[in-house]
Amino acid sequence: MTRADAIVLALAAALLGGLYAHYWRAGPPARIAEIRRGGELVQRVSLDHEARIRVAGPRGTSVLETRAGAIRFLSSPCPQQFCVHSGWLHRGGEATACLPNHLSVQVLGGGQAFDAMVF
């Protein structure tokens, strides 16, 4: 291994560190969540207190739970429960959805992660 090789390896390590630091950073804290049914805004929730929100969809009623700085699906009438299993959303830009019930939740606190959701 020559000296130039060592420099290349050091630069490669620095490059990798920089890439992870830049692109894998967590988003800003969660302030507001937008709940959508079929893409249309149903409710905008401020994530500053504990609450339960019931949202009706074509398959039934989903229950969302909020606390300071986070929101999640508590229960939903869907067979695979992906929405519930995605757990608490607590950074801006995060999102989850119950596709069978046409519901989606987008957390805002900075930028939006997804441009559009189409059912």
Partner: protein
Amino acid sequence: MELQLQTTRDDHRVAWLAALAVAIHALESALPSPLPGVKPGLANVVTVAVLVLYGWRAAVWVSLLRVFAASLLLGTFLSPTFMMSLGGAAAALAALGLGSLLPGRGLSALGYSVLAAIAHMAGQFLLAWGLFVRHDALFVLLPVLMTAAVLTGIVNGIIAAAMLRRLRP
């Protein structure tokens, strides 16, 4: 009328090495890939060895012949896969060209391999982003892809160095 092509010893050498690279590439394509765009890239061992033994121009010939011949062999000629392969090869060769200009002892097989791997991945990623998936979320994949590039670059570089030690005792 019979057509006689005048071939030189260099032509034979390039053809032989390109065939070796194509064979390695084709065999490797049988292996499953954990993530799209991640593969061992063992044929690059030939590219790096050719660069060290016979210079950059020979490496360019061997590399481009491999991209074209392997794509014809595997049925991906002129497909998006081919564009990505060609783009990655072009970026890697450009980086190797610059690397070979370094003064003094310069880079050995290991350094060339890592440099080429990084350039290859960067070139392919930008191509994929520009031509196919124009979404910023794609960049979340870049750290993982580049890690794979650096690791495979190191492994291939070690293999090339071992190969060169046996060829030039």
